[in-house]
Amino acid sequence: MKALQIAEGIYDVGATDWNVRDFHGYSTDKGSTYNAFLIIDEKITLIDTVKEEFTEQMMEKIASVIDPKKIDYIISNHTEMDHSGALPRVVHRIGKDTPVYCSKMGLKNLSAHFGNKINFRAVADGEELSLGKRTLQFFETRMIHWPDSMFSYLKEDKILFSSDAFGQHYAGPEHFDDQIGEAIMPHAKKYFANILWLFAPMIKGLLTKLNGLNLPIEMICPDHGILWRDNPAKIVETYAEWCELQPQQNKALVIYDSMWHSTEAMADEIVAGLTAEGMVAKPMNLRHCHRSDVVTEAFDAKAIVVGSPTLNNGLFPTVADFLTYLKGLKPKNKQAAAFGSYGWSGEAPKLVAEQLAGMDLEMVEDPLRVQYVPDQEGCESCYEFGRRIAQAMK
């Protein structure tokens, strides 16, 4: 397999994972890529590696450009195994003393992953490494999205290797933003919502710092998905927007699961009530919509209404799953309410409400319960519930 030259003397030697559909809980409907980059200079440098099982694909691509044994430096921007998994085998293959540059926290974390047999060398924030004609500069980007994360900036070529920032889980025939256009943005948004949402305050700070540095950027090469060369400013500006966490004022989402269609009927009536008041609302059934797609929709919704039937005095498992996932993303600036149908006890709506309130969401209604199948009166109470939530959104 041949490496793709992305700029003069710079190659993408990463791997395409066409078949991955679940990336630790994130649905990757279009697969993903693990991007790694080779810079040919006086010092031959490899930036990041790939998931362990794709080591051979990467080595083959490197070998299409140069004898892998000639690699002088490895840069590890991020410890997570989809970028570092191949490190031990690569280091073993090209020479055990090859220095692996990483952040201070990277040194700690990579050592914890792989032991002390690899020649890890920590760099300071802003430190530079000469490759000969070119210079790499490193920037700590802690918690974007692990403590060890860093960016590597190739000064002369004005290329930012941004690790997990600005990426997308997308495998396709395209490699660059100009080849895919707007179609990549939903993938970038899903990635931000599912992976970076909770770090928005830190990303905001990082973007301010980057702006202050005034680095000219002609290309951004993230570790997943397509590379931004036509308009790299676009994704940076979009990130700045997303970091504001400002919801669409008229967007509401009714997220639920149902055992015998009763909670589903409630959801539909709530959506109708919201819609009647001018909101853009839709139901999302957690058995049919993947949690990561629901989160992508919830990211910019002003209100989320979560419904659960009561199963054995508790939450329905898919709803518990979703709430756990959502809580970890630290949602902010949202209104919320809970509902659900029940048989004999009906604890679930209250439990849902407690969890949503625990996320610091603004609870705009008391939990709404309907026993068994909602009759006309039950349906009307759901419709009115939706209308009142819409009023609260205004």
């Binding site: 201070k104 926290m105 700690k108 802690r142 918690m143 403590p147 830190m202």
Partner: protein, 52 residues
């Protein structure tokens, strides 16, 4: 007053600076920070900090 370092992400709490974004005034000793305070970078709890 001693500085404390977060063992998870490496953030250093400097009592002279405090953590004004999270209502910890400059001059607050680490011991005087409320127990529910978390690392402003990685959200690790207070018991994940060690004296630098």
């Amino acid at each position: 007053m001693d500085k404390y370092v977060c063992l998870v992400c490496g953030y250093v709490y400097d009592p002279e600076v405090g953590d004004p974004d999270n209502d910890i005034a400059p001059g607050t000793a680490f011991a005087d920070i409320p127990e529910d305070w978390v690392c402003p970078i990685c959200s690790a709890p207070k018991d994940q900090f060690d004296k630098e």
